[in-house]
């Protein structure tokens, strides 16, 4: 039974992970003076804030999912894939860090001021060890799914944000395969890939169902091949979020513009 129909709840929490490319190329300019790294970090912060918003109930937070962010590039200690210490835990734990170790920044959105906690800070250093990140997230999923009661939970959702080709296509493909073979009774791990690039660099590809239009592009083809098809609940929430995936579409964006990138982040991380 792989119908992706389970509900995320305190008893059966979902697992939502972001993989963030922090390689050197992420330092390139992307949108209105911000670099790709800055924008991606802001986007993930927004998605986490939205997730907390959905889980809130009065002054309490229902622990409906487990959050984790893994960056890959090069950390200060030389690690290739590393965990963000601010975002690793149940939603309530992540929210509890706001004001403590996580600061709140105020952004002006034109007509109103928005307070946005900053869990993730931008970073751009090193190469692109995507395979290491997939292995790390696979370990985490294996560990989480082995907990009692999780066999019927909604399968983990992994959103991978990158802007460059991995160090090794072969290794990364194998690692992605290992990751996508994990799952629960409700379905396999959902891996969505977002490739971000400034508008000058190429044509945007949104939620393709086939690779007809980018056969020649090895990198796009590769990301397409490791992306999961949008299951019905996510398909619905994508429609709800003003995206327009066609039936059979995969969770994959190439050369994504900022608006599309944000939409995917939000709807993929809040499927229910």
């Amino acid at each position: 039974m792989q119908n992706y129909s389970a509900t995320m709840s305190a008893r059966c929490p979902g697992l939502i992970c972001f993989l963030l490319d922090t390689s050197l190329s992420m330092g390139e300019p992307y949108f209105e003076g911000t670099s790709k790294a800055e924008f991606a970090a802001q986007g993930i912060n927004k998605a986490i804030a939205e997730l907390i918003n959905r889980c809130i109930s009065g002054e309490e937070i229902r622990d409906r999912c487990f959050l984790s962010v893994i960056s890959y590039g090069e950390s200060d200690r030389g690690q290739e894939a590393f965990l963000n210490e601010h975002v690793h835990g149940m939603v309530s734990e992540v929210a509890a860090k706001v004001g403590d170790t996580v600061e709140i920044q105020v952004f002006s959105m034109g007509t109103w001021q928005e307070e946005q906690p900053v869990w993730i800070k931008p970073r751009a250093q090193g190469r692109t060890p995507m395979d290491k990140a997939f292995d790390a997230i696979a370990d985490l999923c294996r560990f989480k799914l082995s907990e009692p009661g999780m066999e019927n939970a909604f399968p983990p959702i992994v959103v991978n944000i990158t802007d460059g080709a991995p160090n090794s296509y072969a290794n990364t493909a194998k690692a992605a395969e290992r990751l996508r073979n994990l799952g629960t009774n409700d379905g396999k791990v959902l891996l969505f890939n977002v490739h971000i690039a400034a508008t000058t660099e190429g044509k945007e590809i949104l939620y393709p169902a086939t690779d007809d239009h980018f056969r020649h592009n090895q990198f796009a083809n590769f990301l397409f091949s490791i992306s999961s098809t949008l299951p019905p609940p996510l398909f619905r929430s994508a429609r709800q979020a003003d995206c327009d995936p066609q039936p059979g579409a995969r969770g994959f964006l190439f050369n994504a513009s900022p608006a599309e990138f944000l939409k995917l982040l939000i709807f993929a991380s809040t499927p229910q």
């Binding site: 918003n53 929210a95 080709a165 592009n217 990198f219 619905r236």
Partner: protein, 758 residues
């Protein structure tokens, strides 16, 4: 008072159950329900029983308050006014106005409490309020009417229901179940229709709601259920297995809250053959029976109270829901202390209001300072000690009444007792225990609104007046006169411009026509050439028109006599004029003139009695003209083209055809003023930019590339990319921008996709 209705009166006994979702606190249940009966005044068309269930959407913002204030609005005011059985979105928006105010107050109070408690969640609330994120809730609202409304329906049996979203009403009669709305078990979706807490949004998003209605008989059972249970019931009646049947009977005979809780938890468990979705689950069961014992006290069950016994009809006004929106946990079965208090408060006039004026009265109720809402439990929650903004009453009025017990805990220490703003805004009550403080708190929402509206209107009217007066005076000053004059000039110049434009259009047309004519003429010229090639016979054809034009027969003798004649090729404007002149009775001079006088061709025939011989040409035409100009051929009689010895040898090759003067080629003259004739404008194609320039965004504004960047080496535009290189004049640019050179890029990657800094 019961005489008029005694024959038709039915009794409505009801029970309500609610079990929150596994991870939801009891007081944050997003479902709300209300169920109440009363005896309407004789002769009024008022309902005698009202039941409502609302299901707040978990994805919206503070839905638990919204669901509660909506069902309370229904209890007090009935459904929105309908037109021909339909409720338009405007009606909903008006009806939801008062719940909206209460919800806003509730959210504000929560914000204040969180701020006071220094919570690390305050930002969530602030952002949502700023973004005007709404709460959303479905509603199913059912009314029974005691009195006869029209001749068609029997007295006292009519029911009406207004439904938005996927909370359902089930009507069971004679083992037949009818579901409103008619949803199959598979049709319960994640995104149902809902009423939102900002009325403006409802206007855009709500379709018209249809009122459903029917008649009730003794023995009927009505069930109001939220989506999870409604889906379960729908499945139950689709499957109709024995197991489902047993469970269905159990559900109908449910008496204790604990039974319902067990039922829900049992079916929620994993692997249950009759699964119930994990969601807040609420059910109201109404049994209709023939007239039983009456004149019991009016009965109410809202989210706050859960009497274990069946409620019964009672006379008097609508009972009011407990001001407390956080109900005592139902499962423990303890009666809510607030219940007896508000049940004793019969006779509040608000419930007698006609339904049409419901919204207005609700606002008025909020504004009336004489009424206050109080029951000890909620009013103590009203006043969190450290939140001054939540109790905005002036200090002089802050008489500590019994309700404002100083023992109120701080919200931080007891999250369960967070301030309940709904209590502040709920419709007024006559209660002797009401503290003056709360009285004042109930007032502001109404009159503040009116005062603000009046002030705004006054401001606008003053502004308009000032503008009118100001303009009048301004016109009389020197500057004003100038402005008026300038405006007139402006208008005039506009008119002139229009005139010029129209003239331009006309000229343009003329130009186009001329061009067309010219093209035609050229075509015909070509046709003529072809014709002449085909037909070698001697003809005098007029040049541009390819028309044959023979000299009149009488003309030659006349010519000899007169010595001079002029012949024009037809009456057309572009015709060629030919002049024939006889000199010395022997020599014939033929001159042809183009229509625009710029070409002249002259033949001289020395002895026109014999075959003519071409002689010296004199032409003012262009070289083309000269080329096209042919000597008059040797006569047709000769046919051979052999010149006579006495003739001057021809300067050009003899041609039997008398070639007329060719089309005088006038250059393309534009009739438009100012355009030099014949000048052609050509767009010089710009050089395409090099690919590496395109992909390297030095400056975020691509239109203003820095001029300082120069190219030091470039072999050819088409040269391979790796030979290109950018060099900067300025060192600073190097710091701020990344420069990519192909040498540093990995060989396997395309330059326009991936870049690496060295």
């Amino acid at each position: 008072m019961t005489t008029s209705t005694a024959t038709a009166r039915l009794d409505y006994s009801f029970r309500a159950f609610r079990v929150p979702n596994v991870d939801t606190a009891e007081d944050k249940t997003q479902d709300a329900y209300v169920a109440a009966t009363h005896i309407p005044a004789p002769g009024s068309a008022e309902a005698c029983a009202r039941f409502a269930v609302a299901d707040g959407s978990g994805q919206s913002f503070v839905p638990w308050i919204w669901a509660q204030v909506m069902v309370e609005q229904f209890l007090q005011c009935g459904p929105p006014p309908s037109q021909r059985g339909r409720i338009t979105s405007e009606d909903w928006a008006t009806w939801l106005d008062y719940p909206h105010q209460r919800w806003i107050a509730g959210v504000e109070a929560m914000q204040q409490a969180l701020k006071a408690a220094n919570s690390n969640l305050a930002w969530v609330y602030n952002n949502n309020v700023m973004e005007r994120r709404p709460a959303a809730s479905t509603i199913v609202a059912l009314e029974f009417f005691d009195q006869q409304q029209d001749a068609a329906t029997p007295a006292g049996t009519r029911w009406e229901a207004s439904i938005v979203g996927d909370s359902c009403l089930f009507h069971l009669r004679d083992q037949k179940l009818t579901s409103y709305p008619n949803l199959a078990s598979t049709e319960f979706g994640k995104f149902p229709l809902a009423l939102r807490s900002y009325p403006a949004e409802n206007l855009a998003k709500l379709p018209e709601a249809q009122i459903v209605y029917g008649t009730a008989q003794p023995g009927d059972v009505f069930i109001l259920a939220t989506d999870a249970l409604a889906k379960w019931i729908a499945t139950c009646w689709e499957e109709r297995t024995e197991d489902y049947g047993r469970e269905w009977v159990k559900l109908l005979d449910m008496a204790q809250p604990q039974e319902f809780a067990d039922f829900v938890h049992g079916h929620r468990a994993n692997g249950d053959p009759m699964p119930l979705e994990e969601d807040d689950t609420t059910m109201v069961v109404i049994r209709v029976s023939a007239k039983g014992s009456s004149l019991e006290p009016a009965t109410l069950i809202s989210g706050a109270a859960a009497p274990p016994a069946w409620g019964t009809v009672a006379p008097g006004a609508w009972p009011r829901p407990a001001a407390q929106t956080q109900p005592a946990p139902q499962a423990d079965g303890s009666p809510n202390p607030a219940t007896p208090e508000h049940l004793s408060a019969n006779g509040a006039p608000i419930a007698q209001a006609p339904r049409a004026a419901a919204a207005a009265i609700a606002v008025a109720a909020a504004a009336a300072p004489s009424r206050a809402d109080a029951s000890p439990a909620p009013s103590s929650l009203l006043k969190p000690a450290p939140a001054p903004a939540a109790s905005p009453a002036p200090a002089s009025l802050a008489v500590p009444g019994p309700a404002s017990a100083p023992s109120a805990p701080t919200p931080a220490s007891r999250p369960q007792s967070s301030p309940q703003p709904v209590a502040q805004q709920s419709p007024a009550r006559n209660d002797p225990q009401a503290s003056p403080q709360i009285t004042k708190q109930a007032a502001p929402a109404g009159w503040k609104f009116y005062v603000a509206a009046i002030i705004v209107v006054l401001c606008f009217s003053f502004l308009a007046l000032a503008l009118t007066l100001g303009w009048t005076f301004f016109e009389k000053t020197q500057v004003g006169a100038d402005v008026v004059k300038l405006r007139k000039e402006l208008e005039q110049s506009k008119k002139e411009k229009e005139a010029i434009d129209s003239e331009y259009t006309k000229l343009n047309e003329k130009y186009n026509n001329a061009n067309k004519a010219r093209e035609e003429a050229e075509k015909k010229g070509l046709a003529l050439e072809k014709l002449q090639k085909d037909d070698k016979s001697l003809k005098i054809a007029m040049p541009t028109r390819a028309e044959e034009h023979k000299l009149p027969e009488t003309s030659l003798p006349a010519l000899v006599q007169k010595g001079h004649m002029t012949e024009t090729g037809g009456a057309k404007p572009h015709a060629i004029k030919m002049e024939l002149e006889v000199k010395d009775k022997k020599k014939l001079v033929i001159s042809a003139t183009g229509y625009n006088d710029n070409v002249k061709v002259v033949w001289e025939i020395n002895d026109f009695q014999g075959a003519p011989v071409t002689d010296g040409t004199q032409s003012t035409g262009t070289s083309q003209d000269r080329q096209g100009m042919q000597a008059p051929g040797a006569g047709g009689a000769n046919g051979g083209g052999q010149p006579r010895p006495d003739q001057t040898p021809p300067t050009t090759t003899p041609n039997p055809i008398i070639q007329p003067a060719p089309t005088p080629e006038k250059p393309n003259v534009s009739p438009l003023p100012g355009a030099p004739p014949g000048r052609q404008y050509r767009r010089v194609p710009t050089k395409s930019r090099s690919p590496e320039f395109e992909s390297t965004d030095f400056d975020n504004n691509s239109n203003s590339r820095p001029d300082r960047i120069t190219r030091s080496y470039r072999s050819e535009d088409t040269a391979p990319l790796k030979e290109g290189r950018w060099e900067l004049d300025d060192k600073e640019l190097l710091k701020n921008h990344r420069i990519y050179t192909a040498e540093n890029a990995p060989k396997s990657k395309e330059m326009n996709q991936h870049y690496w800094r060295d």
